[in-house]
């Protein structure tokens, strides 16, 4: 691994002398900001807590992902003292943060599924339309040009066939073709008057920007061996080519402000050899994801900011939320023939925009990935899932012909599923705070999460289940399981913990992504989302990052 100090000479991790911008976090958010600003001619330093992942090891990661002997968190080396956290969750709610984030150059997009979706107009105005949650201080129209740029930067394959989204131009690549199993859903939806359309993905449908098109490893989550799936390291590399400097394995410890607390002067970071350095700059961008961003602000408490930096509003760490989901699984008589890919190709936003406040937004996604991997069944001796191993730790005892029988049974190609993404309304008592009873490898208190979903999700989930049952009935499928809307996990998307707003007493950043309290501190992350509809955040993170970069560039140039 490049940057592993045990292998060869340690890279230089001392601070840069005359940095214009210090970006903390090298995921897609940090990568895009750094790339834009370096391209505009500014001197940029990027710090990341994790390592650079060597491209040549990608197949070894694939093997770890596929072989059930390995924990999923091993794939991207998550876990251990660095990544500890604690949680208090009510019954029925689960969270496994270290399966949901990756620390290192590229960040969590190394692991993501590539769904690159825009929010809808209504998502920006939830308070004024429905009296729910809070409005964004910007509208869809403000973000629309940035969405288009973000789609070009990430490389999105998607059609212009979604009648529920207003777009000014096509996505840069054609949509991935529908899977054979999509046809089943499509016919049933047509009969029911439900419009379906392509699912936009930041996965190359053709060769683009020196990256392969998808070649069907079907392991996109957690690792795409071909590089067809976009990940944030693409922009970190491009930022480096434009002159930015990257310091890996350099977790920021705290942020230091000036005497009167109106601007930041330096970020203090640690290195693997135990040194602590200070990176000074004119502008500072925090892009550490929805958990570590509020944590870093809370860790940076001072006399001026006793509740954490940039936290005069008291909202840093509050309003943690993610979208939720429910699913309906069924069996059909014919073979489903899902394609050998690892992603959804068709969805429906028919139930996205709603008239009444509740039930809220529903996004239907038609699964076309066979949930069962023969490798997993075979390597667990006939157990049909990794989950089963956790429940029943003794491995199944089959091999030879008996194992083949079980593997064939588990991958019978007759299971279909619909998943509905559900809008979640953020609550002030779902939080990221510091757990001072436990510390990480640098002696800093670990993050503590509290999270609950509230009744809006449950009611929306119940409505979604009715719709999905109707579709399955129309297909003539036999429903085998329905998930419980009250049992949710904190999904892979961590939003809301440094939210955006126009009122400094109720939010952390303004419409330009600049903190209300400190004029040269910016945040680029889903942590700024006041709401997020029923969809995944990353295209919006990317659009906001490009927007933030524009504002910072203006400031540096003026």
């Amino acid at each position: 691994m490049i940057g592993r100090d045990s292998e060869g000479e340690a890279p230089d991790r001392t601070p840069s002398d005359h940095a214009d911008v210090c970006v903390v976090g090298a995921g897609v958010a940090g990568g895009l900001v750094a790339h834009s600003l370096a391209t505009a001619g500014h001197d940029v330093v990027i710090l990341d807590a994790g390592p650079r992942f060597e491209r040549s090891k990608v197949m070894a990661r694939l093997e770890k992902a596929l072989r059930p002997e390995h924990d999923r968190t091993d794939v991207w080396e998550m876990g251990g003292e660095r990544d500890q956290y604690t949680k208090s969750l009510p019954d029925g709610i689960t969270a496994n943060l270290n399966l949901q984030r990756v620390k290192g150059i590229g960040g969590t997009t190394l692991h993501w599924s590539g769904g690159a979706l825009r929010l809808h107009e209504k998502d920006f105005n939830m308070q004024s339309r429905y009296g729910l949650a809070a409005d964004w201080p910007i509208d869809y129209a403000d973000l629309r040009p940035y969405y288009a740029s973000a789609e070009r930067e990430l490389g999105v394959a998607g059609g212009d066939d979604n009648p529920f989204i207003s777009r000014e131009q096509d996505a840069p690549m054609p949509a991935h073709p529908n899977s054979p199993s999509d046809r089943l859903f499509q016919e049933a939806c047509e009969e029911l008057g439900i419009r379906t359309h392509s699912f936009p993905l930041a996965i190359n449908s053709e060769v683009r920007d020196g990256r392969s098109q998808c070649v069907g490893f079907s392991t996109c989550t957690p690792v795409c061996p071909s590089g067809a799936k976009y990940s944030g390291d693409v922009h970190v590399r491009q930022a480096e080519s434009a002159g930015a400097r990257v310091i890996d394995r350099a977790p920021a410890q705290s942020i230091e402000h000036d005497d009167d607390g109106t601007s930041v002067v330096a970020v203090e970071y640690a290195t693997p050899s135990g040194e602590v350095h200070r990176q000074t700059a004119q502008q500072f961008v925090i892009a550490c994801g929805g958990i570590e961003t509020p944590r870093l602000l809370l860790l940076s408490e001072s006399d001026e900011y006793p509740n954490g930096l940039a936290n005069r509003s008291g909202t840093v760490g509050k309003y943690l939320f993610s979208d939720s989901s429910v699913s309906v699984t069924a069996r059909i008589d014919e073979t489903a023939n899902k394609t050998p890919i690892g992603y959804t190709t068709m969805c429906s936003d028919e139930f996205y925009d709603h008239d009444d406040p509740t039930p809220g937004t529903i996004q239907l996604r038609f699964d076309n990935v066979d949930p069962q991997s023969p490798v997993e069944t075979a390597l667990t001796g006939g157990h049909s899932s990794r989950e089963q191993i956790y429940k029943e730790p003794i491995y199944g005892g089959s091999w030879g012909d008996a194992l083949l029988d079980e593997t064939q049974h588990a991958t019978d190609n007759r299971t279909i599923r619909i998943t509905a993404g559900l809008e979640t309304i953020p609550h002030a008592d779902s939080t990221v705070t510091l757990d001072r009873s436990k510390t990480d490898n640098h002696g800093n208190p670990v993050p503590h999460i509290e999270f609950d979903i509230g009744p809006h999700v449950v009611e929306t989930g119940e409505r979604a289940i009715e719709i999905m049952k109707e579709i399955m009935d129309t297909i003539g499928a036999e429903i085998t399981s329905i998930s419980d809307p009250e049992s949710q996990r904190l999904a892979n998307h961590h939003n809301g913990t440094t939210r955006m707003g126009s009122d400094p007493s109720e939010s952390v950043v303004n419409a330009s992504l600049q903190t209300h309290d400190l004029s040269n501190l910016w945040i680029s992350s889903s942590s700024v989302f006041p709401t997020s509809g029923a969809t995944a955040p990353t295209l919006t993170i990317a659009a906001l990052s490009l927007k933030a970069a524009d504002h910072i560039d203006n400031k540096l140039s003026s």
Binding site: R55, K57, V58, M59, A60, L62, E63, L66, R67, E69, A157, M173, P174, A175, H176, P177, N204, S205, E206, V207, R208, G210, R211, S212, Q213, C214, V215, G216, F217, S218, T219, P225, S226, G227, V234, T339, P340, I341, G342, D370, S373, P374, V375, T377, A378, L379, G381, I394, Y395, G397, S398, W399, G400, D401, L403, L404, T407, Q408, T411, N413
Partner: protein
């Protein structure tokens, strides 16, 4: 169902061994490393037990896969050799012969007798756990990441196998650069 060269290449690709379609596959171990003829013969013998009987061409598949797989991976090769030694020790105790020299039925009985079928695969575990990891699961991983393994299991393309580019409407279908 016959395992072919295409399967060996697919299985190797899923372990990160860089093999082009024109690669020369060796089935003879070199003299130097911990994997010699005996280790390869033992892997073939284990495959005879754990692979479904419908699979043909096991000997050349396993030899070519294993020899190429452990080349340049000394730690892994040592793990395999060590697991073979542990298995032989057990069969010598019980049957006075190395595992590879037993008949098919006794091999199956020996592996089950050692409780390998109910052991957790663990590269750092007990003997039977290491045998499960380095011999049994290693061979099953190889089989079920091949097109033939996928076909056996009943799906078009198992996870971890490069299926080839998907056509898009208007999209190009040539393979791209690896970044």
């Amino acid at each position: 169902m016959e395992l072919t060269r295409r399967d060996v290449l697919a299985a190797l690709a899923a372990t990160g061994v860089a093999v082009g379609t024109g690669a020369v596959l060796r089935s003879e171990p070199g003299d130097d490393g911990p994997i010699g003829d005996h280790e390869v013969a033992t892997l073939v013998a284990v495959a005879g037990v754990v692979y479904p009987s419908a699979v043909e061409g096991v000997e050349s598949f396993v030899s070519e896969y294993s020899v190429t797989r452990v080349r340049d991976r000394p730690t892994y090769a040592a793990g395999v050799a060590d697991a073979v030694e542990a298995l032989d020790e057990y069969t010598r105790d019980w049957y006075d012969e190395d595992f590879a020299d037993l008949d098919a039925e006794t091999r199956d009985r020996a592996l089950s007798g050692m409780d390998v079928d109910h052991a957790d695969p663990d590269p750092e575990g007990s003997e039977r756990e290491r045998i499960r990891y380095y011999l049994v699961n290693e061979l099953l991983y190889a089989l079920f990441t091949t097109p033939t393994g996928g076909e056996l299991a009943g799906i078009e393309n198992p996870q971890g196998t490069r299926a080839g580019p998907r056509p898009t409407s208007g999209g190009r279908t040539d393979g791209g650069e690896r970044r």
